[in-house]
Symmetry: C2
Subunit: 208 residues, 2 copies
């Protein structure tokens, strides 16, 4: 059985939603970031990177959201969450998720996790101040060039949608003016109408 | 025919090597980063992100290294560059490449591209000072937990190998003590014995 380690408010939401979407039997264990549980000896044995999400399977442990999402799409092909047999179409899905991971989430991470890359208080404050601008730039590009609508890849819902939804959920607290991102707002609303999304949001809230 | 836009010394090397490895007919166009050519109007029409690599195909334009590498592995299955039919094994390959993209390359980028995330000179200098530490931490994890040997995934050469090689090539100038990373050093040497790697290194040097 699949087991997901997550924490609320993190990018692990994308994997959590996708597990629910594919209908896989799974359990979800919540880590307490306030207690730095992701860096406990027990957890580091499971994932030495000390991060979420981690997906534990009978056949190995997976880390990194883009890989977990692709794994679920490929393992549950009946859920049709990625165009697995079309190399270019599948690569476009992977490209979107790679951009979300390595550019967009990274931009956001400079708000609260700037100490990964800098030491001085002045640097951390400087990085924090720039987050509204960098997140706006990313989402302006997504709004204009990536999000086809109604779903990211157009008519077909894919593993890009839970991931975009997850990161877009951070935008207001990142100080971005949502009136400039109507397609993103519509996408979020559409996501929240999905039973799988509603189920997971309720579960992550209840486990608090 | 496939066309790769690259610049020397960048992560585009991974895609360039992989194109050569799969034996695809391709052309490679070099951008001049000193002239900021990646932000020219012409190039932004091709890739609005203003980055390399970009892979232009008859069937669409691809960005983001992990997606390009997976596309090449899937499009040229006879080259056996990824375990396409085994979802967990393929996901592990994608996980490594996602880590290289969103954690390791990002750590390195704080040396010369810190202005993406901060504005003040003091912040940029602070970030630069931390790069030897962050790159050493990443590669200590790779050396201990990821690089199975002789190739990243063990006996089988995959799309992880050109990507690891590319980023490992930055380590000395990032101020990392290579005597602590013997497996990485051995991997680099083994890569340089491959005809495809030698060909691409020579081509990128000659085009200067």
């Amino acid at each position: 059985m699949l087991k997901l380690y997550y924490a609320p408010g993190t990018c692990a939401l994308a994997s959590h939603i996708t597990l629910e979407e594919v209908g896989a039997p799974y359990s979800a264990e919540r880590l307490n970031f306030r207690n730095n549980q992701q860096n406990s000896a027990d957890y580091l044995r499971i994932n030495p990177k000390g991060r979420v999400p981690t997906l534990v399977t009978d056949n190995g442990v997976l880390t990194e959201t883009p890989a977990i999402l692709a794994f679920l799409a490929q393992s549950f092909p009946q859920a049709k969450l990625a165009p697995l047999d079309d190399p270019m179409a599948f690569a476009q899905v992977q490209s979107v998720n790679s951009y979300l991971c390595s550019t967009v989430h990274v931009a956001h991470a400079h708000k609260m996790r700037g100490s990964r890359w800098a030491s001085e208080e002045g640097s951390l404050a400087d990085m924090k101040r720039k987050v509204p601008e960098t997140m706006m730039a990313c989402f302006a590009l997504i709004e204009r060039d990536i999000l086809k609508g109604p779903w990211v890849m157009g008519e077909q819902y894919t593993i890009c949608d839970p991931y975009l939804y997850t990161i877009a959920g951070w935008l207001e607290s990142d100080g971005v003016d949502m009136t400039k991102l109507p397609k993103i707002v519509a996408h979020r609303k559409r996501m929240e109408e999905r039973p799988a999304v509603a189920t997971v949001l309720a579960e992550e809230k209840a486990a608090a």
